[in-house]
């Protein structure tokens, strides 16, 4: 289909009944299902912890300062993501590319630090088999890490499109949609960091 025909199809697209673009609404519905997914994991963690007669202090096993740094990096990447959206809305495509690249870098650094943390912990003998805490720790942080990985892959795709000049001030829904996912991943980490590392 030619680009002219695609543009024509977009023009003919029926308006959303909710007033919210369809792809954005789709992302929100997906994020709602993700809320339930992580609620299940967090709920299981809380139930297991209540049921356990003893629970090791996370600070004795985990490197809280390293993870606090990782939390800082993820929060920074959320800021650069929202600045990327603001830039494209203002028609500043140069800053869009810059901020998307910084977000991508932030995600990659987060994953690298998490991989380093896992390697260090596994080397020290803290693995999913060693205790209930180990099992819960690797399950929750592992699933979150997988979500960050998926986010980084999608972010690379969106960043590539930005460098190819596919987004304009008028058409940039892809940037907003990946941004919603990215902020959600940040939000989940804020909660996981508190309940897994600090309790």
């Amino acid at each position: 289909m030619s680009s002219h025909a695609i543009a024509h199809d977009h023009a003919l697209e029926p308006p959303s009944a909710t007033g919210i673009p369809h792809d954005k609404m789709g992302m929100w519905v997906f994020l709602c299902s993700e809320v339930m997914f992580f609620t299940g994991l967090i709920g299981s963690y809380i139930v297991l912890r209540f049921a356990s007669p003893s629970w090791p202090h996370p600070g004795n096993t985990l490197n809280i300062w390293l993870t606090a740094l990782n939390t800082f990096i993820l929060i920074c990447s959320s800021v650069t993501m929202v600045k990327a959206l603001e830039s494209v809305r203002n028609g500043d495509l140069g800053k869009l590319k810059l901020f998307l690249s910084m977000t991508l870098l932030g995600g990659a650094i987060f994953l690298s630090i998490q991989a380093y943390e896992y390697r260090h912990l596994l080397h020290a003998g803290f693995n999913p088999h060693v205790s209930l805490f180990g099992s819960v720790f690797y399950t929750t942080t592992g699933f979150h890490g997988f979500h960050v990985f998926c986010g980084v892959v999608c972010m690379a795709f969106v960043t590539g499109k930005a460098f190819l000049g596919k987004y304009t001030q008028a058409h940039h829904q892809g940037v907003e949609t990946i941004g919603l996912y990215w902020h959600f991943v940040d939000l989940v980490w804020i909660i996981l960091f508190t309940i897994i590392y600090l309790f």
Binding site: I42, D186, I190, L198, F199
Partner: protein
């Protein structure tokens, strides 16, 4: 997104950073466990709320979206509450 003024994202960033530092410091304080957990949950909830409202622009979205997200959160709270209640409430 609904039309709205631009929130100051850097202000939100500094608040998030400050609360994270407070959180980590607070976790090392010698306070009763329920006070510690309650405080940390409140701080994490505040940070999550800031991200949802300002970075995800939920504050400026249409009400329909708020209803959808709010319903999910209610279901989530029920899910966790049932699990906790299972251990707190006396068994028959």
């Amino acid at each position: 997104m609904a039309e709205h003024g631009h929130p100051n994202y850097l202000t939100i960033f500094w608040i998030l950073l400050s609360v994270t530092i407070v959180e980590v410091g607070y976790s090392f304080m010698k306070v009763p466990r329920p006070v510690l957990i309650g405080g940390l949950v409140a701080l994490a909830g505040f940070k999550a709320l800031l991200v949802a409202l300002y970075f995800m622009h939920l504050k400026f979205e249409r009400k329909a979206l708020g209803v959808i997200v709010g319903s999910t959160l209610i279901l989530g709270v029920i899910l966790v509450s049932v699990g906790i209640g299972e251990h707190i409430l006396p068994r028959p």
